[in-house]
């Protein structure tokens, strides 16, 4: 009886070992074409396009280092797209140029307020405690939208994405810069399988 149990357990163990997933590190910058849906390469492509385009704006190129607040990037596609991931990528690229500054108000207004309250609460040396009312107002607001058109015919799916970004002067309301990036992908379903 015991021998049978050992043989069974060994068999089960071996079968599980055979099913172990092979994991390997891959280049996160390579072009990803696993599916036709929005993916990492699309984020990288639009971030590159938008950052490259925005720094050409004379108000940025003259190194006056304007302050930008990231507003919303609306997802008007039928997919779930983490639009904050897109704006984060663009913001990071722009900050690294050293030519644009961003206010953290969009992301961390509550945390900043809490921290100021804490610093003013008596636990922090008064000489170094930061005061409220000294935040710098944004010069520009960055906002936009991503939309898509999906068409399917037979085994072919065609997806067209368009991401538009705008930079509006907060004081005047004028859109000082705008650009768009179009991406088109086509997927062909195999004759057999899914």
């Amino acid at each position: 009886m015991k021998l049978v149990q050992v043989v069974c357990l060994t068999g089960v163990g071996l079968s599980f070992a055979g099913c172990a997933r092979q994991v390997s590190y891959q280049d996160p910058t390579r072009v990803e074409t696993v599916t036709e849906e929005w993916g990492s390469s699309d984020i990288q492509t639009v971030a590159d396009r938008m950052a490259n385009s925005m720094v050409r704006l004379p108000e940025i190129a003259n190194n006056s280092r304007p302050i930008v607040q990231v507003s919303t990037l609306k997802n008007k596609t039928t997919e779930h797209i983490d639009t904050k991931s897109i704006t984060d990528k663009i913001r990071t690229a722009l900050i690294k140029t050293g030519m644009v500054r961003f206010t953290a108000v969009s992301d961390a207004a509550a945390e900043i307020g809490e921290n100021i309250d804490y610093q003013q609460g008596g636990a922090v040396n008064k000489a170094t405690a930061k005061k409220s009312g000294k935040q710098v107002g944004a010069d520009y607001l960055l906002y936009g939208e991503v939309d898509s058109i999906v068409k399917q015919a037979g085994r072919t799916t065609d997806v067209y994405y368009k991401l538009t970004l705008n930079l509006a002067n907060v004081e005047t309301g004028i859109i000082e810069w705008s650009d768009e990036k179009e991406i088109r992908k086509q997927a062909e379903r195999p004759l057999l399988g899914y």
Partner: protein
């Protein structure tokens, strides 16, 4: 593993020529880098299909703008991937946030211009890496 093959393309615009336009003599343009210096093709055979020509650079404000021309020497469309590598004057890499491979496409016989802007005022040098998808 990527086999880096530096393209020795036919190059134009390396000299510092003076152009005369409507009687005005424009100052000589600084010599431009060449495709053989700046374009690295990582896929065997791709250099036969895509010919890289002019490389032009221009400083606008504090930023270095670059543009590389390529031509599809075949009759069919060519898919490729490309990425820019930027370095400062000392050779340190910059702008790694934007150094991802990007998909490219050029129709048969078509000419295309790939352009980029240095990721900040410190960007002085660049290389354009090109390869076939999946290589």
């Amino acid at each position: 593993m990527m086999i880096a093959t530096v393209v020795a393309g036919s190059l134009v615009g390396c000299g510092a020529a003076s152009n005369t336009l409507e009687g005005r003599t424009e100052p000589p343009r600084p010599s431009q880098p060449t495709a053989s210096e700046r374009v690295v093709i990582g896929s065997p055979g791709l250099a036969r299909d895509l010919k890289f020509g002019d490389v032009v650079t221009r400083e606008e404000g504090l930023l270095l703008h670059v543009q590389v021309s390529l031509e599809n020497d075949t009759k069919s469309a060519v898919n490729f991937e490309y990425r820019w590598e930027w370095t400062d004057a000392d050779g340190f890499q910059l702008g790694d946030t934007l150094s991802a491979w990007q998909p490219g496409f050029v129709n048969g016989g078509e000419r295309k211009l790939l352009g980029s802007v240095g990721p900040g005022p410190a960007a002085r040098n660049f290389r354009l890496y090109v390869r076939r998808p999946g290589d």
